[in-house]
């Protein structure tokens, strides 16, 4: 059944591949023609050489006119092969690189629309390698592979024909003996496959150990575990040595063995050929051409078997890329989607149900009305799923039941872009783009230098930015590089300060900033929040108490909802949390 399912998928993959190739199709046909011409011409040369040698019978018996004729022909053939091959290579490059660029553009386009659920549940490294490595592998494998495949087949056929014209019987010797080297190669490849698997598994194990131990040196040293870790490393390293040696050695037998078989073929041709020459069935020149062919004949076979695995691999890569392009893509805006730009900031949740996985329900029948300018605090112990709410508000995830509305419009009926524009967001997990400090602040909108500086000042980031090596032009990398967690958070705040959207989402926006600075920023935040609907994930009592609505979460669910006083009166989870914190503060 799996087989049946696979066939249409393959066909579909081919169809899409061809659609990318469409633009380059004339060029592609041209390269195939050139390849064919190259093969015929380059195989003709040994025959010409043989004929030239036949013109040299012995002292005083050399046919110089005959030699000259052959040599002119060789010159023409070699010249043509050179030109054709160069044009073919250039065209191949052009086609391959263009297809790569096209596929990559589509893949990246998808990436910017990729479902957050896809991003969250697939390792980033894997997705990156689809867009980068897989695209390369498939274009290289498929296009170059195809030309190689074609050239290989053409070479084999052409060689056969040429050999047959010289001497059919010796051709038979070559045809019967050469497959031996192919069998040998595949025999060794099969035997060594497991060894290579073991090697790469062991390498993976070693890398994991290295990452863990070298990446956590402070812990290792604090507990004086250096020697133990080294022992553990040595044990894996020793196993790696053994299995690497086996894999490398046994696989390296391939070349000598196939070369040996080629030598046997060569010797057999020399033997039978010499007798044929003695018997008058062939000339010495013919034998020379034959020996040259015998030497080359197995090469295309080996190449083809390599190309076939490469083609299969390429196809698998293509399938992975297409599945990324298809599966991961989030829904596009509906036709006639509402533009939320300039929203008043009214948000409602109606009977919202949500869960990341069907087995674990998180939010059930959540109803919430937030009027413009109101402040919503989301509280709860660490890891209780506060970010779930943000995921739903921003429509990073879609609700499973009910609806979230902004100004009465279901967010699923709104233009995604305009929805995102309504909110300004500062996350606990600060993300810095690779670029200058200025570019990072200007993410939200174009702004003048004065506006950027004003935003940085409001976020209390100006003073540390000035002390950076190149001030606002300092380039920072995506992992934040030399900036501390607190400084990165200040930058993210400056970003929002510059964008000034109608609604705010602050997810522990000041968690890495020391409380004295935080206090100063709070004033700027307060000014910004005035008149703006805001959703705040926070642990600070004052922020929570001043909120119009408090959502209390625990273990991923919303357990309570209300104002501070209402919730205290309920004497539920919130009042317990409050008690603990109050006790910490006072007692």
């Amino acid at each position: 059944m799996a087989q049946k399912k696979k066939a249409p998928v393959r066909r579909e993959t081919w169809r899409r591949l061809l659609s990318y190739l469409h633009r380059s199709l004339p060029l592609f046909v041209l390269t195939i023609l050139f390849a064919a011409a190259t093969v015929v011409l380059s195989l003709w040369i040994p025959i010409l050489c043989g004929r030239a040698i036949d013109c040299m019978i012995g002292p005083g018996q050399v046919d110089f006119d005959g030699i000259a004729e052959c040599l002119v022909k060789i010159a023409i053939a070699a010249g043509l092969v050179g030109i054709l091959q160069w044009v073919m290579n250039s065209l191949n490059n052009r086609i391959t690189y263009r297809v790569i660029a096209d596929v990559r553009r589509d893949a990246f386009d998808t990436l910017t629309h990729l479902l957050l659920s896809y991003i969250d549940s697939h390792p980033h490294g894997g997705t990156v390698s689809r867009v980068i490595a897989d695209v390369d592998a498939f274009a290289d494998g498929l296009l170059l592979g195809f030309t190689q495949f074609f050239t290989g087949i053409a070479t084999i056929l052409c060689t056969l024909v040429f050999m047959l014209t010289i001497h059919p019987l010796i051709t038979l010797v070559v045809v019967v003996l050469t497959p031996l080297s192919l069998f040998m190669a595949s025999f060794i490849a099969k035997r060594t496959y497991d060894m290579f698997r073991l090697q790469s598994d062991t390498r993976g194990e070693l890398t994991a150990q290295i990452n863990e131990v070298i990446g956590n040196q402070p812990v290792v040293r604090a507990f004086s575990k250096e020697a133990d870790c080294l022992d553990e490393f040595d044990e894996i390293n020793g196993r790696l040595e053994k299995c690497s040696l086996r894999a490398i050695f046994f696989s390296s037998i391939t070349n000598p063995s196939t070369r040996f078989i080629n030598n046997v073929v060569y010797a057999a041709v020399a033997l039978t050929g010499a007798f044929a020459v003695i018997g008058g069935g062939m000339t010495v020149g013919g034998l020379t051409s034959f020996l040259a062919y015998a030497n080359q004949y197995t090469k295309p076979f080996n190449e083809i078997s390599g190309v076939i695995t490469e083609l299969q691999n390429a196809l698998a890569c293509a399938e992975r890329i297409f599945s990324l392009i298809d599966e991961g893509r989030g829904p596009t805006d509906k036709t006639g989607a509402v533009d939320l730009t300039g929203s008043s900031g009214q948000v409602t949740a109606e009977h919202v149900d949500f869960s990341y996985t069907p087995e674990r329900e998180l939010i059930r029948d959540l109803n919430l009305t937030v009027e413009p300018g109101e402040r919503v605090a989301i509280v709860g112990p660490t890891g209780c799923g506060k970010t779930t709410i943000i995921n739903l508000l921003m429509r990073f995830y879609d609700v499973r039941g009910g609806a979230i509305r902004v100004d009465g419009h279901d967010v699923r009926d709104a233009k995604r872009d305009s929805l995102h524009g309504v909110y300004g967001m500062v996350l606990q997990d600060t993300w810095i783009m690779k670029g200058t400090v200025r570019d990072n602040i200007k993410m939200g909108r174009e702004a003048t230098e004065d506006e950027v500086v004003a935003a940085a000042k409001a976020a209390h980031a100006h003073s540390f930015i000035r002390r950076l090596p190149q001030g606002y032009d300092t380039v920072i990398s995506d992992d934040g590089g030399a900036l501390s967690a607190g400084q990165r958070q200040l930058l993210c705040i400056a970003r929002v300060m510059l964008a000034i959207p109608p609604m705010l989402i602050l997810d522990e926006a000041t968690s890495s900033i020391d409380t004295r600075t935080e206090l100063k920023i709070q004033n700027a935040f307060a000014a910004m929040m005035r008149g703006r609907t805001s959703f705040i994930v926070a642990h600070r009592l004052s922020t929570i108490r001043e909120a119009d609505i408090i959502l209390v979460m625990n273990a991923g669910r919303i357990v309570e909802k209300g104002t501070h006083d209402e919730l205290l009166a309920q004497e539920g989870f919130y009042s317990k949390l409050w008690g603990a914190q109050f006790e910490a503060a006072v007692g």
Partner: protein, 572 residues
Amino acid sequence: MKTLFKQLRTYALESVLGPLFKLLEAMFELFVPLVVADIVDRGISSADGGAVVRGFGILIALGLIGIVCSITAQYFAAKASVGCATKLRHALYAHIEALSFSDLDRIGIPTLITRLTGDLNTVQSGLNLALRLLLRSPFVVFGAMIMAFTIDRRAALIFLAVIAILGAVVTVIMATSVPAYKKVQSELDALTGTTRENLSGARVIRAFRMESGEREKFASHSDTLYRRQLTAGRISALMNPLTFVILNVGIILLLRTSGIRVNAGVLTTGQTVALYNYMTQILVELVKFANLIISISKAVSCMKRVEEVLGTEPGMSFPSSAPAEIPDAPAVEFRGVSLRYGAGEESLTDMDFRIERGETVGVIGGTGSGKTSLIALIPRFYDATAGEVLVNGVDVRAYPADVLRGKIGYVLQRASLFHGTIRSNLSWGASDADEEGIDAALRDAQAKDVVASKEDGLDSAVEQGGRNFSGGQRQRLTIARALVRRPEILILDDSASALDFATDAALRKSLAALDYRPTTIIVSQRTSSIRHADKIVVLDDGRVAGIGRHEELLSSCPVYREIYESQYKKEA
């Protein structure tokens, strides 16, 4: 490359025998055209069947010797290269563990990991290739030329010219295409970076509606990449056609000369065939050699990176025997300590205070005020640039590393666990800890429910980095790990940040009640976590802004008061 050669010396036999057998193989290969010439000249021209069969026998024998030699060579090369790589990997790993934290900070952990993994793998395969082929290809090329000289001097001059021109062409093409491909690679890296960024920053990029800008950025990188690939491809596309044409020009000249020489009776037909065969061998080997040089130069630059690390002298050494401690000295004492990382500004200036045995001390201060730097001096992760740090009255520099660190239970800011089980992680603290000790540590660290929530209890699997636990769970387990050793000095570096207030409070309560009364140092940004400490050290910009009890500091230390008020003013 010195280290590599030093390691190779342990495999001296293998690394001599490998190339030697490879050369033998090549030599036998060079005899083949001579044998064929003999078949033509003696067997065919005089119709001597015996000579033909003899020639055939020699060819087969040469093939057999060839396969034996080359398999032997492969074995020795594989053994030497894999062995060397294994030894180098061990040496590098051990060296990294011996480097000081200042060294590690300067070099950077990610590049160290790359050098241990990818770089050394490249060195291994480069070494293997070099042992097998570095001598072989030149040997075959020049061997073919020498053989040609033994046959006919005039014809051999053509060989000389062809080899020189081919060599020059291959070198020029390689030399221009390698930098061109490097440019391609750097653009590909930029593309990879943009792709990665769009995954890790997906939320922010969408929240700020930067998708179309990102698409443009990607398109422009992709465009540059396309153009650079074409440029690089254009150069390397010349390689095959050019070498093919040059070789055939050589063949044309050779055949013409041979014709004249055969006519004059200086050369036989068989010898002409041999010369022709030698000529075709040259090209194959030259191209192989050029590719080999590229792989080897990659391996050499990887090896240089490895040696750079190996050549770094550890910036810290430890004595081997434990010093005599002073009985009534304070547990920890800072005497005029300053710390500077590299050439930067001072991170700590003039630290001068004592922590008595059994005391609980809080360290508080803003982001970047030097809290972590201060406590990292106690287990001697860094050496003070001025002044001295004493533990039990003895300079930390007088302790062997394991003795000093064995006294300390250190809970780091970043809570990381190691793959294994909860039990194996906890016994990092003390390998001889019994069930009871582990249980007590878990209880005190408020981590009993973490263990209880897992199906297999203490034997539940911990994945790499502890990623199958939440931040708060990890934090409590790392505290338990430190408590298992019942340390003399317990250091908690902002270790309760992921805990909610209730758990944090319970933790402090149980730490205060530990029966072995460790000297406890708590670093925090929250005054609530340290207000009950016997002594609070307030840091501001790397200097001590105040030392004392909570109430004293409230009145005497403006920085502390500001911190406190920023957290409590509105509630109090």
